[in-house]
Each structure stands twice: as C-alpha cells, then as structure tokens.
Subunit: 337 residues, 2 copies
C-alpha cells in the first residue's frame, strides 16, 4: 500500500523543545505556523481553534503536558487548564488522562515527551488501519460524501473519515468524492478541499443543503464522517449537520459510516442524550470572512455539534475493528472486553 | 387584520415612466435602487439576480413589456429576451404569457401598463389571502422554520411562505421563527433576516445543516417554504435545501407547507422529474462575499434548486385554497377545474 501518495500533510509537529501547529483558521489563504513553548500557549491554540479536530486536540494537549514538564511548570495546573479548553471532545480528556497516569507513575519530563510522541504515533497508525477497514466496506466505483474536516489536519495524519477516503481512492474503490462546506466554520470548504487538492484527490465541494439532492441522483453510496464523541450505545456526536446527513442517507438507501479512534468512544456516556452540545457565539453565523452579512439586530442559534442516533449508523470503524449496525450490546463487546 | 404592522417593504415600484427595483444583491449592507427605463434593463436585472423570487421576477418582467410598449420597442423582441432571463421560474413565463395575450388582443401601451399593474396588485392580494389560509393551519404557540427568501422582496409584497409567517405572527399563532441561511446565496441570512428585523418579527438565523437538530428539540411544528415551480402531481421545485428539509421534517413529525400563487403551478409538467434544475457557476461556492475561501484548483457542484416530492408535502397553499396531502388527483381538481 502506497500510503504516502495521498498523505503529505502533518499539522502538529514536535520540534524537540516546542510544538509547531499549522494555524487552521488561516487556511487555505495562508499557511502560517504557531510555535507553542508552554502549556498555556497550547491551551490558547486549542481554545482559539488554531488546532481543531478531536484527535489533533488530544495530541496537542499531550504535548502541552510534556512542555509543562520540560519547563518545570505545575503539571496539575497544566492538566486542568488544558482540560477546560474545549468541552465536547472526549479525546482531549482521554489524552490528558493518559498523561496523568504517567505522571502518577512518576514519569519525568523525558518520559512524558515519550508518551506524547506515542499518542501521536499511535494515532497515525490507527488512522491507516481504520482507512483499510473502512475502505474494505466500500464497493468498487463508489461515490462518497464527507462532512467537516477529519483529515490529516484533524489528526496526527492521514485522518479518520478522510483516511478511509484516502484508502478507498488508493484502492480504486472510490471514484467520486464530495465534501460539504460545513457552515458556519467552513471546515469542509476551507480545510478538506485544501487537503484533497494538496494530496491530488479529485473532489467536488457542495453546499450542505445540496446533500439530499446529490443522494437522489444516485452518485454516492456512502456518507463517511468522523466523531467527537461516541456514546456507549453508538450514538455519535459530531459536527452540526452530521445528523441531517444521516437522516437523508437512510431516506435514500445510502450507507452511513462513522470513523474514529477508540479513544473517541466514551463508555461512561450511556446515550447521545447525555452528551453536552456546545453552543457557540451567534456572531459566527452573522458574519462571513469577517464581513457582517446579516442585518444589525438579528439573532442566531449556533449549535456546533449534533447527535446522530446509532440506528441511523451502518458502521462504526475504530482501530479495533468494524461494528456494523451499532447498539449497546455490540459496543460493549468491543469496548469493555 | 392589521396587515401593515408586519408589512412595510415594497421592492418593485412602478414610477409612471420607469421601474425601480431594490437591488437585492447588496442587502442588507446597502439599500440601493436600480432604475430600469426599458425591457433590456429589466432583463439584465433579472439575469443578474438584482430582482429575485419567482413572483417578483414575473412582475418585473410584466413591467418590462409595458416599458417596451411605452418606448415603442419591438414587443416580440422584449418578450423573448425577458423569457430567456431565468430558466426555472414558471411565474416568469406565466406573466409574459398574460402580457402576450393582451398584446394579441390589441392592447396599447396604456393597456399593457394597466395589465402589469394588475399582475402586481393581484399578487399582493393573493399573498395576503394565502397568509390567512396558511396561518389557519398552524396551532397556537407554534415555532416555524423557513428557507430562502419568500417575502416582500420576492413578491409584490407580504410574501408567500413569509406571508404565512407574517399572518401567523400577527394572529398570535407563531411564537418562534427560524430562518435557514440558504447557502450559497445566503438569501435567508441576507434577505429574510433583513425583512424580519425590518418588520419587527423576532427570529433566529440557523445554519442550513442545523435544521434537523432544531427539529429534534421539538421547538418547531412547521417548515414553511415557497416554490419556483409546482408540477401537476404536487412535486415542488424550490431553492436547494428544500428537499433536505422536507425529508428531515417527515423524520421528526414536523409538518411541511408549500406556499405559492397558482401561477407557480405548471399543469403541463407532469412530475418533478420533468423540471429542469438550474446549475450555476461553481464559483458561487468557492468564494464568500467576494473572497476566495476555497483552495485554488478546487471544483464544486452547485445546483440551485431541488425537487421535493409531493408525498413529503403536508399542504400546498395557493390563493385558490389549501391542498392537503397533494397528489395528481386533487391537484387536477383545483387547477384544471
């Protein structure tokens, strides 16, 4: 398998004494890097959405702890600061728990650096494995639609849902790729299209609201998305609009695949109803690219995630394997075994 | 009924010797008027989307014919030029057919001016009547979601779907109004929110992809939209995203209402499959507010309408009455009788 052909992007780069992050707020217009020398700077980058995507946030946070140790800062303070940076992404908590366990076991700065590197390296390997697993579900000559950005930018590299698309294209199974623009932040338009063009994968952007019309045309066989948190019954929190795509997919007989590392699965959350949905500033909908597009005095409702119930999901792919038709029983077999 | 309270906007204004059009491309940032002194200028305004909304396009085109007569221009040339300005909107054809019938009957310039005025006046009356009919279907304390712009800007005044919302708010039946932003042209964000704020109707903007999450929350009972063309079986072509809303509404038990003047009904088009869907320039998705937001080299698929099948529509409201659960049989009873 020639992984490198469609995988040239690394957005989180450890530099030995600091962390370099590709500032995702400025893509695709500018490729600017942010250097973080301590945990506070990493926290700020996560809060400001300079780094985004659940796995990438977890990896950056792990490096934040390693940096705190290197600088002789308080590790407790670093952990709680990083933990509070984003409420919904469970990978953040998972990565910090993993660093905390090493701290509790008496790890020094070098050992914490090693642990952060392991989290990052394992994520890349997991993504490549998930890519293979997910692509094997897709019939030759298929078209697929993805949402938001779940690619190299959102992970250590390769991506989750976009990793399956990379693998499916490399294997000759996927012939057409569509990406929803993903309002209000435009992650699909700005980031996914940037990755796909960068890595030479032909793709077309669509308005989020054009997905059903696309499905009706018969061009796509799978919707493939990532996840911010997967509950114990398979209900999946992901970028706003994911739920709408799942409803439309079921209506058209299009299959729906969720791709995420097992660290995204939160067996302590029983169902999607227990997942806190982040509401962000209405201003994100009232202006586009810094220009006010909506009349003064207007209000907006801006939830940034939604929950797709397990019964609308045909397959959940993690690095541990594929769960078809997820429910609490099969989830338990794979994630509590 | 105090119509005026929520109805202060007129975007198509006859000035005795020319037509004034509120340039909808510049709203809400600027309120600039375009003066059209001949049919070619009206055609250009329709082509450029300075005037938009199926009924408003028809009205403007009728005034274009009246202007041609006033200026002593060729009426045949004016008719065919105006007819070619937009392919999907059937009201355009309907209004021009009506003007053509008057020309065939030997009408002079004054009579054609009178006919254009009649088309405009009848549209306003039809909208107010539809507003009453549609609002009567809505239970007290309801929330509603609309898409695109179907208000005063899109018609002679008051609006179709937005007219039902105006009437429902005035009658105290509608308590919460949500508007989808309607990518890529942002008619909901730019125009509908402008109208609602202007007319003092409290409303919230949502991302198009947040509609299903909103429906799941139980806040809305109806989706209310306009139409660009209604086929003989009730299938309805409307702004891209309408079909997706209809699928989501049915999934959640939310009712779906289409509001349009009977001139939008095209009994010569058997079903939605026979409706030509306008594909517009991919550039509309690749830039926002004049700024390129997507990487160079990226492609996009940009259909601007879709078709909602009649079986997903709970009610079609025209000025002739309400059709519940539309199908070819009941459509024929109302529109071929």
């Amino acid at each position: 398998m020639d992984y490198d052909r469609y995988d040239r992007i690394r957005a989180v780069q450890w530099q030995g004494d600091h962390l370099r992050l590709l500032d995702q707020r400025l893509l695709p217009q500018q490729e600017r890097w942010i250097d973080c020398a301590n945990a506070a700077q990493v926290t700020q980058a996560i809060k400001d959405l300079a780094v985004r995507g659940a796995p990438a946030i977890g990896i950056a946070a792990a490096w934040g702890v390693a940096l705190a140790a290197k600088q002789g800062e308080s590790l407790d303070a670093a952990l709680s600061m990083l933990r509070a940076a984003r409420p919904t992404a469970v990978n953040l908590m998972w990565a910090l728990d993993r660093m905390m366990a090493r701290i509790a076991a008496g790890a020094d700065a070098a050992a914490l650096e090693h642990e952060a590197k392991a989290i990052q390296d394992e994520d890349l390997l997991a993504n490549r494995h998930m890519g293979q697993l997910g692509a094997s579900l897709i019939a030759p000559h298929s078209g697929v639609l993805t949402h938001c950005n779940t690619g190299s930018l959102a992970t250590a590299g390769y991506g989750t849902a976009l990793g399956v698309i990379r693998a499916g294209v490399a294997a000759g199974r996927i012939e057409q790729v569509f990406a929803g623009e993903t309002r209000p932040w435009q992650q699909g338009a700005r980031l996914t299209m940037w990755e796909l063009v960068r890595d030479g994968i032909p793709a077309k952007l669509i308005a989020d609201s054009a997905a059903s019309h696309l499905m009706k045309s018969g061009v796509i066989q799978w919707v493939i998305v990532g996840a911010d948190r997967i509950a114990a019954n398979g209900d999946t929190a992901n970028k706003i609009g994911t739920y709408q795509l799942a409803i439309a997919a079921r209506h058209h007989g299009v299959k729906f695949m969720v791709v995420a590392p097992s660290s995204t699965v939160d067996m302590a959350t029983a169902t999607g109803d227990d997942i806190e949905i982040e509401l962000r500033d209405p201003a994100e909908l009232l202006a586009v690219a810094g220009q006010r597009t909506v009349v003064e005095g207007a209000d907006a409702w801006n939830p940034v995630f939604d929950v797709t119930p397990a019964e609308l999901i045909d397959a959940i792919v993690t690095e541990r394997g594929v769960i078809e038709r997820p429910n609490a029983g099969v989830m338990q077999l794979m994630f509590l075994a």
